[in-house]
């Protein structure tokens, strides 16, 4: 294998690397966002009705165990997408996100104290507004925790798409492998890890910023 000093290769290919990174983010993050939007109503249903929980939670568990490569190759058959359509990667990633989040969202909603929801109903909230402004905000810490796991795993899973010719940083890894270019592979891997860490940190900070009450000092304050 050609172990080269990165300098001649890296500056020469910087545009490709930036483009691959952007593509990777698009491949991985869009499905997480879609997955989040899908899991909220599903998690709500699972928290609301016992039968929905009995179906959704085990189903989510099963979905998560399906190997990513199998899912990626199955999607074109089921959806009729072209073989190099990004959706072939994004749909499975969205499914994994939903599989991860449905359970935690429903658990978080169930954990909202009964007297808080009762009080919300009693002061005159309609159910939908109560959900959006009382129950969902209280579930944010758990949702953010689930989202961080889902995002990091989507970052690494997105590279599997390279096996069926869908780019992103995974494309650099397969390309480097074919061209015997270790530098290209290592740079791609490091970048995947780096952006995963950065996004994870951003989610952590954003989660803290929108839930100031969780850091309010527990101690009773005397006036």
């Amino acid at each position: 294998m050609n172990v080269d000093w990165p300098w001649p290769w890296l500056p020469r290919n910087i545009d490709d690397i930036v483009e691959a990174t952007g593509e990777h983010l698009y491949l991985a993050l869009l499905p997480v966002l879609v997955g989040l939007l899908v899991s909220i109503p599903l998690g709500w249903a699972a928290s609301r009705w016992g039968w929905a929980r009995l179906i959704l939670v085990p189903l989510a568990g099963v979905l998560y165990t399906i190997p990513s490569l199998a899912l990626i190759t199955l999607v074109p058959l089921v959806l009729g997408t072209k073989i190099i359509d990004p959706l072939n990667v994004q749909v499975p990633l969205a499914i994994y996100t939903v599989a991860l989040l449905v359970r935690s969202i429903s658990d978080a909603l169930i954990a909202v104290p009964g007297d808080v929801t009762a009080a919300a109903t009693a002061v005159g909230y309609r159910p939908f507004r109560r959900f959006l402004t009382v129950e969902l905000p209280l579930a944010i810490p758990v949702i953010v925790a689930g989202l961080r796991v889902a995002t990091v795993s989507a970052m690494s899973l997105a590279s599997v798409g390279a096996l069926i010719g869908i780019g992103g940083l995974g494309g650099l890894i397969t390309e480097g492998f074919k061209r015997n270019n270790a530098v290209e592979m290592v740079v791609a891997i490091l970048l995947i890890v780096l952006i995963a860490l950065v996004i994870d940190a951003l989610l952590l900070l954003a989660g803290k910023a929108i839930t100031p009450w969780t850091r309010a000092r527990r101690a009773v304050v005397k006036p």
């Binding site: 007297d115 009080a119 109903t121 002061v123 309010a216 101690a219 009773v220």
Partner: protein
Amino acid sequence: MIEFQAVTKQYPDGTVAVDSLDITVEDGQITVFVGPSGCGKTTSLRMINRMIDPTGGSILLDGKDIRESDPPLLRRGIGYVIQHAGLFPHRTVLDNVATVPLLTGTSKRDARKKAAELLELVGLDAGFAKRYPAQLSGGQQQRVGVARALAADPPVLLMDEPFSAVDPIVRDDLQQQLLRLQSELDKTIVFVTHDIDEAIKLGDKVAVFRVGGRLAQYDTPSALLAKPADEFVSSFVGRDRGYRALGFLTASGVPVGPLATVKVGEPRGTTEGWTVAVDADNKPLGWVSPDAAEEGTVSADGLVSGGSLFEVDSTTSGTAGSLRNALDSALSSPAAVGIAVDKEGAVVGGVTADKVLAALAEARRSGEVPT
């Protein structure tokens, strides 16, 4: 006015929580629903704002059947306070209180302004406004709960065991505050508790429920103590009801006799028996025992602590504390003489137990005591 007309709540499994309840809650009064657990008092309360719908009968609010109202709109016009306050943990104290005005479309600025006024009304410092509920004690949270319920100025206030999860001293404080608020606001309050003492203390009218959701008695507290309808009510009202009933009789007929006093720092002089030591403002500090040395001056250290004080309003003679206050002051005093004080707390004389009992006998003769 809230009217229950043959209201029944039966659950699908056959349990009857409330059984054909007829009761009328008067405007501007505190009506207490009291009873053992499982008596349907909370269910009855929650039927008023349609948190629970009855399976039979109807409830009228100011003459209008509540089933004709959209539940969320109905609830915005009825304040509601629950046991653990049920504050929204993710909102500041101020925004918790502003909840209902915001729901009814008041601008954020006006809602917060109103909320700040209410915090002051329930005795919370403005410094609490920006805090989160988790940073407050149970009693403080409950004050916020009351402020939130009052924020949209609803004519009706429902209180579901609001003070039962706080310690006795805080509870006493919250009860006093509720009575004070009520004297200013004149709300129609329905208050649920399992504590008969709380019911008697707060209620203008008390409805005693028995297990199975039936009304055992609906009366004023004094009538409840004097004339319990049956064995169940009398056992629920509990021991000492004769003594507690004295709390509803004014002690204006109890003569206040002379009482020997001595100022601290002055010689005891020739007084005999128990003597009350007073400060410069004539406020009682304690008792000087008959055994205390006659020589020297009275010091604040060697005093025997006194019993409860009986407050008479000497400026407008005729108003005074209750017979219960008067009797208790006499019984709890080491000298068997209760210290009577005026509004400022200065000693005006002494009351004895036999005088209190004589006043009670007089009240019975004149028919003031229901028999």
